[in-house]
Symmetry: C2
Subunit: 102 residues, 2 copies
DNA sequence: CTTATATTTGCCAATATCTGACAAGTCAAT
DNA sequence: ATTGACTTGTCAGATATTGGCAAATATAAG
């Protein structure tokens, strides 16, 4: 249930001495939703990550990477072949990268 | 649009000299759907993979791994930090594995 | 023990996304 | 021009996710 992303958000929010009730409105949601996001039972929208990064003064891609990692983990979490699948996906990504350098 | 999974399914289906119209009913769908799956515009349901593996005489986890890899790729395909995210997710998986060996 | 503040949880209507089914389309061979 | 294999478009219905509120819980203070 807990997510890397949610845990990091909470950690950063507490470091900044901010309450849910202060941060939530900046993301146009209520405290209940943000609470659920930190607890991992809801997902923040991808496009809100940059805003949250600013609010929490996180460093550049920190939150994005954790958010993505959570999504990836979700896909394979119950699979015996999780790591094999990850490697297969990585290869595809690396091939794309190479060929994008037209 | 094309998927590794879809391409492999097509390849295997042709190797077995089977038509869409023969395979589709075994998966309880129509040929249009199966066509889209091979083309990558629709997803086969996770739980149907073992059945399809049998039908196409694929080897054990081949199709499952490709199917999962496609899902993973989908999460990060437009992200600059795709590989970083993959590595972060891999670490989580490897830690789970270790701790599961109670 | 009551109040106050912060957070969490449960619920459900609203919205978004995915799927199944069919019809119509292309393409190649005859 | 007909047939067979496959593809594509559409759309209602099924599923899943979200937003928002209200009630529950937790902690601290008085």
């Amino acid at each position: 249930m807990a997510t890397q992303f949610g845990e990091k958000v909470r950690e950063l929010r507490e470091q900044q001495h901010l309450y849910l009730r202060q941060v939530a409105p900046l993301l146009e949601m209520d405290t209940a939703q943000l609470s659920k996001i930190e607890k991992g039972s809801r997902q923040l929208k991808r496009e809100q990550i940059p805003l949250l990064t600013g609010i929490l003064k996180a460093n550049a891609d920190e939150l994005l990477v954790l958010w993505l990692a959570d999504q990836l983990y979700d896909v394979v979490k119950d699979e015996d072949v999780a790591l094999k699948a990850m490697e297969a996906a990585e290869e595809v990504i690396m091939n794309k990268k190479k060929s994008k350098k037209k």
